[in-house]
Structures are given as structure tokens and as C-alpha cells.
Symmetry: D2
Subunit: 259 residues, 4 copies
């Protein structure tokens, strides 16, 4: 079998006002569909990670603890109101229909640690199985999904830059076992014209296994269409309420170090 990987590195699209402007050039232009930016093959190798923490790994002394097991006081919903996800047993769980949450504090370059877990007995397949995500600076989604014995399009699996770059490997722990994410993020710089002067970049380890190595992020991470390049400054860490019944992901032990 041809083991050669050819991964998608999707590109930057015009932002919506510009898209409308450009759309006029082709009045009958066929719309993009979500499938056009989804690729299923080849699947990254499956690696069984050694790291499967029973208890949270304590934060370093200079970290800002974003969730310590007690409350969501460092978080808000997408309208700036209280974060309504469910806190229980030292963790918190997505509360379907309450929407995404994000940190009140905004960040530039950072090292982020978080732990997440999909419940035993989860159903659904492909994207409809434990789907959530971490938004870096509120802009760029690193996918979270229950990819344990569950295939999906490779640029939508756990550890992908969503609809852009698949992870190097699939290093999932099985449902009921906690996963760790260690994310090192370098914010972009912008030219006067609003385009990237330097790309955002990210390194990701899941359960101690490298998924992304200083990977270029090419723009936003929409479901349909290409990445957009949108000028921004410091931004929050966001977590996604995917809105389907199969996504009761739990989180714990979230801390961040400003770099």
C-alpha cells in the first residue's frame, strides 16, 4: 500500500464582506460545500500513548490556572455572560445548547495545558462523536474529537488544525481515560494591510506524543470554505459546544503560561 501521505494545508479565504465583494465577480459561482475541504485518506498512524494520567498533572508555579476543579470564574460565554457548563467532581462538562465558552483573559504567545475526556459508552461516528475544540486566541481551532477507533476526515481529527493540517499521528486514549494537550502557540504579526507578516504557529503534544511541530496556521478554521486571514490582537482560549448530543466532553486541569 502506498504509505505516502499527502496532507491538506488549506488556504486563506477572503473574509465575509470581501467574499460578497468577490462573489459579484462570478454571479453564478457555485457555493463551496463542506466536503470540498475534507480528506479521509490516508489516516495518520495509530499510536498507543503511554501517558494516561489518573490524576491531574499539577501546574507549574508561574502558570495562570484557568480551571482548578472548583468553578468557571475565569470563563464566560460568547456573549460575555457567565459560562454555564456543568462543574462536577473536579471537572466540567459541555452543557449542550449553552454555546462556546472562553477565558475572560486574553493571551498572546503561550504554553497551554489542558486535559479532556470522552465518556464511556459514547455513541455516534465520525464528527458526531465527542466533538469539541480549543480555539487559540479565539480564532484558530485545534480539534478535539473521540477518535478512538473512530475514523473521520483527517484534517478534522483530534489534533488537526481544523480543515487545515492533520496531526502526525492518532494518539488517543480510549473513552473514560483522560487525554492531555500541551500546546505551544506563537501569535501572528500583521502587515498594515491586515495580512500576516508572520504566520501563527503551533506545536501540540497529546498524551506526550507530538502531533504538530511548529506548524503554520494559515487562517481561520471554518466548516465551509477556506481559511480567512483576519487581523487580531490578543485573544482568549475558547472551548467549543459542538451542539450535538454525542459531545459531552469533560475538561479538567487547565493552565496557561504566557511566553
Amino acid at each position: 500500500m502506498n504509505k505516502r501521505y499527502v496532507w491538506i494545508m488549506a488556504g486563506a479565504l477572503l473574509s465575509l464582506p470581501l467574499f460578497a465583494q468577490n462573489q459579484k465577480e462570478y454571479p453564478g459561482r457555485a457555493p463551496m460545500t463542506h466536503e470540498m475541504t475534507e480528506y479521509w485518506w490516508p489516516q495518520p498512524p495509530i499510536v498507543t500513548p503511554g501517558q494516561a494520567p489518573v490524576d491531574p498533572i499539577p501546574a507549574p508555579s508561574d502558570a495562570i490556572v484557568l480551571f482548578d476543579g472548583k468553578d468557571l470564574s475565569k470563563w464566560e460565554n460568547s456573549k460575555g455572560g457567565p459560562a454555564e457548563w456543568t462543574v462536577h467532581d473536579g471537572v466540567f462538562t459541555v452543557k449542550k445548547g449553552t454555546g462556546d465558552i472562553r477565558t475572560k483573559q486574553k493571551f498572546n504567545d503561550f504554553q497551554l495545558h489542558l486535559e479532556w475526556c470522552t465518556p464511556v459508552g459514547i455513541e455516534g461516528e465520525s464528527q458526531l462523536r465527542g466533538n469539541s475544540g480549543v480555539f487559540l486566541q479565539g480564532m484558530y481551532e485545534v480539534q478535539i474529537l473521540d477518535n478512538y477507533q473512530n475514523e473521520t476526515y483527517v484534517n478534522g481529527q483530534t489534533g488537526s488544525i481544523y480543515k487545515q493540517t492533520p496531526p502526525l499521528v492518532n494518539a488517543m486514549n480510549k473513552p473514560g481515560v483522560w487525554n492531555t494537550y500541551d500546546i505551544i502557540y506563537t501569535a501572528p504579526t500583521f502587515k498594515k494591510d491586515g495580512t500576516y507578516r508572520t504566520f501563527p504557529r503551533v506545536t501540540i503534544l497529546q498524551n506526550g506524543v507530538l502531533l504538530q511541530n511548529n506548524t503554520i496556521i494559515q487562517g481561520t478554521t471554518p466548516y465551509v470554505g477556506f481559511p480567512e486571514v483576519i487581523q487580531h490582537g490578543a485573544g482568549p482560549i475558547g472551548l467549543q459546544d459542538h451542539g450535538d448530543a454525542s459531545a459531552p466532553i469533560s475538561f479538567r486541569n487547565i493552565w496557561i503560561r504566557e511566553l
Copy 2:
């Protein structure tokens, strides 16, 4: 008017055999159309270059001269046969229908100089006006087009990485005046799996004005669909026969320095 530029940086698609493989996942997937990867707005600023060489700029002593005004002996057609474009008056001109030509010699990293000219009285608009292109390592097209008072989609104009990154500015000389290209190219390196370990990169000056500054090339440059990442080694310099009647582009004074 919103002067904010949001440029396309299109992404890497699966190569054709893989595409077929992936296509099976979505039997009814709508095909991409060429318009989906074309963006018209905003147009790069127009700069009137100061450099408009009447005579060819002589080559440095360590350059490999690829065309010295006499013959196409350093070139071949895409089947390996003789290059059949028309040599006259110290220049050569695309001969419609004879296909692309390429150097017999292959290159890795290089500095390439070439000069090109669109005839006075050329007709057509957008892409149907003086369309050609330079292929780096036979893989990646830097667009050549008569963009003098002729708008087209910005990621298809002169100095764009075709269907990827527009040039910083439009620095065209008018028809009948020679343009220079100075292209500094760094070849990619590949992982074992055939994906880029380091991206190809290119710096381009047209008529002494910077169009691309160490820009990442994201893959091949197809008319329809996304860039592909295809593993390759050293490759030729190619020149495009666009095949339409409006493209009698002439070339002269082509030399290359291996880096």
C-alpha cells in the same frame, strides 16, 4: 474604502490517485470549479517601475546562460523533443500549439533572471491577454500575464504564485517594453511520507520591485482545485504555452545561478 487586504493562500490537495480514493468517501461530492480559487479584490497597488531595460542586462560570470539570443539548444518540449518556439531578433516567442518548453538541465536552489515582453496591440482581457508562466522545478508556476491596465483575479496576476499568493504590487511595464524577473528559489525538502519537511520558498522582483519576499509555496498550482504536495527532486525551468491566441509572449536573456 476598506483597504484591508486579505489574500488567498490556497492549500495542498491530495494528488490525483489519492483524490480518487478520497472521492469515494463522498460519492456525490460536487466538483470544484476554477472560480472557487479565484479572488478579484482587492487589487494590489499599481507601481510604475523605474526599470525598463532597452537592452538585455548581461549575465554574471558564474551564470548558466539558458538563452543567449541565438537558439533554444538548452530547451526541450514536454516530451523531450526539440523546443519549437520561434527564435528571432535575439528573442524567442511562444509558438501557439507547440506546448510548454523546459530546460534540459535540472536545478535545485537557484537565482533565475529572465526578461519577457508582451507585444504592442495585444487584445483580450483578464487571463486571455499575454498569458504564460515560469515553472520552478517544473512544478510551481509564477504567473506571467499582461496585467498592464488589465485586471484579473489577484492570485492569477503577474508575479503571483498561481492560485496561491498574489504579488505585493503590480509593477508591469506596458506592452512593447521588456520586463525583468529576478527569482530566488529555495527548493523544498520532504519527509519520508512525501509531505514537505520544509516548504519551497521564493523571492521575486519584477523590474527591480519586490513582488514576493521569501514566500512559502504551498504545493502545485493547478487551475482547478487545491495545491497538491508531490515529492520531487531537482527539476527544470519551464515556460508555458497557454494555448490561446492572445499570448505571443517573447523572452530573452535568461540565465540562472545555482545556489
Copy 3:
């Protein structure tokens, strides 16, 4: 106090034969001294890490285990003979005077995990206190030192690219507690002339805290003089016998994943 950091990023020196050649130009040139490339101030911030593993963290399923607690069969001394360091209690300890050891296998890009520990009751100060090091591709030393309440020159402390770039922080566990290193290494590529075409790069986490973020390695890491640029291919992982009485560093749980 001025908190502004100004770090050393030392540079590439001529290799020894060239040095001799260059030396002739200045017959009376004063020799470099080791102090010239040592800087003490400002010291990186001290961070108390949360991670202090009692037991080894198991290796991922695709890792090559370089030490599993039993023997040094994957290692050799610098002459290609048997590695003579002391294996005991599931760990191995530097055996003074037997010299550096290195893996028999050679590597290109990799993710390396190793754990190391300095004994309780260790004496000495600055560099004479638990001094060892990890050599990447046998060429580039990442310093290992007991920097717990022990200052030294900042480009010689734990997690520095030795005599080049200091770590972002000091994240030491105290003597008797195991430290983890997670090292992501990208090998250089070379031009025909033997200089770097792309620099080697390294990301390092100690005890889960970021010390180096895709840092450029500028050449070799000598005690006296500047880094050299020496052309090389795949190389081993090396561990240093510093040769002083204060360096009975122990290691355990070493694994590597080829990238």
C-alpha cells in the same frame, strides 16, 4: 531592577583545520578563553514545575526504547566498545572516567524522551555539580546540570543549547527527584559548500515546562570558542561523562520516536 534579558546567541566558528588556516592570518592572535562565551546575568526566572514523576512515564507504542531499565545494549562508548556506565535499580548512572556514551542507532528528526536525576547530597557549585549533557545527532549539546539553587552562566545551565542560547526558565526539580526532558529535534540540511542550508532546530520541555521553542542551533557547542558548522548526516544520541567527581547523574526511561 532591569528585567530586560539580553541573551547570548553565540555563533559558528571555523572548524579546527580552518581555524589553523585562519590563525596564520594573525600570528599573534590572543587565544579565546572559555569565559569569553559565558554570561551570568540575568538569570532566567525560576519556575517550580508541577511534574515530578515517581515512576517512569511509559513509552508510546511506536517509540524505540533506548533504555528500559535492564541494560545498555542499545549504547556504546565513544570508541564503539561496550557502554560501561552502571546499571542498577532500573536506572543507569554515569561511571566517571569511562567516557561519553552514545546510541548505536543514528537518527535524523526525532522526539526524544529521557528522565534524569541528581543524587541527594550532591556537592560542588556552578558547573561542578551534576554536570552532564545530551548530544543531539552526536553534535549539539543540550546541557544537563543540577541547577537547583545553583547558579551558573546562563548559557550553560540546564536546558541551554550549551554556550549558545539559555533556557526560557529554570524548571529544575530538586536533587533526588526525577526530571523529564522532552526534546523535539529537526536536523539541519546543508549546502554543497558544507554550511547550513537550514539550521538545526530544537524544542525542549523540562518537567512539562517549555525551555526552548523551535530554537535555532547555530553550530557545535564547544567549551572554548565559537560554534562550528560541520557537515553531518544522521547521528546518535550521546550522553556526557563530564569527568568530575560531582556528576553521578542517573538516567532512566529513554525512548525516541523518529519523525
Copy 4:
């Protein structure tokens, strides 16, 4: 003969106040000498450029013309007073003893064009022969020297990042013939602690021949000691009065485009 090049890429030193601070650690530390950061071998290949402009190459329409042949009104001396170099015949010449000059305007990223010429009959050798330099953002010197049939240390020759990186080749025109410099500069960004977050980078063509290709600048460019990393913002273009009798370099046709 071993043709392998091993170039110097010298490193960043502490700024002077810090140096004093660090000096205390080694009260008897031997001082650096200028020879320690000078390397003579191997000399870059000599390339005879094809470009030797009799007349100035006109500026693009969007350029800021810094010298148009008439006066130094865009320039000042290093104290902010009038630039006192000699304007004559559409060019200006270093006036020994009046000190460096710099633009009144400050720049970030830019493309700079300038032309310079050493007089026929110039005497002196090595650095004492037509020595000047261009300072990027007032911080980083690109060397200007009469290197036509005049060897010097390679990291001090024309087109070197002074005391850092030699040029790829020696592409000098002989005395009395104008040389062009086309310099593409990307300014650094800084971390809060004052170190580089991204390095400054520079591409240089002399007479149309590539000397530096997106080369990292490692810090300031002092005569004695290592590069320093000093936090700065926008800065002027500077030109050096080397202060020796052998340096009556002339300049003309200087323009800059902000990127």
C-alpha cells in the same frame, strides 16, 4: 584544496551595562580583541557582475527618494544636525571627520536601493580601502568596502552582515564603476524581555547578484565582541564615515519602499 566553506555566524553579546555586570563574574577576564571575530578563509568565489549602471536606475513610483542628486535634505548627522557630506555632480561623497549620516525618516520593513562607487586610484588594503557601510534601522551594518582585488576577513567584506555572515560571493565592480545594492529587510519583533521574538532578516543583491538570502541577523555588528540584542523600533538608514583617508566612497540614487 578543501573548498568547503565554513562561515562565521557570530552571536549576540550583552549590551554594555550588562557586560559590565557580567564582567564582575570574571574580574580578570581577558578582553575580547577584534581579531577574534575575523575570519579570512575561505574567500567567497569572485563573480564578475553583468550589471554596471552608467546612469542611475530610476526609482519606482511608490518609492521615497532619499537622494535625488541635489541635496542631503532627507539626511542628518548623528547628533541630529545637518548632514555635511559633499554633494557634487549628482552624487555625494563621504566627508572624512564629519561622522556618520542617517535619514531623518525612520523605517520598519523596507526595500532599499542605493548605488555606490569607489574612486579610481584608491589605495590601502583590507579594511583600509573604501570602507563604509549601510546601517539598517540604525542598528545592523551591511558592509561596503572596495573588495575589488582586495582581500579582507570574509565576514567584513562587501555584502557581509558585519562580523557575522559573509556574502555568498564577491560581486564587486572595479573602482570608478557604480555598484548597486538592493536590500530587502524584515525588522525583528521582540519579546517583553527585550530579546528577539523573530530575528531581523535581510536579502541583498549587489549588481543583480545574490549575496544574502533572507539571512538571519543575530544582533548588532560591533568591531570588538559579539552581537548585542537591543530592543528597538523603527529606525533610520545610516551611512558610515569610516574615518580613514582611504574611504572617499560616493553614493547616488538612493530610494526606499516601505513594505
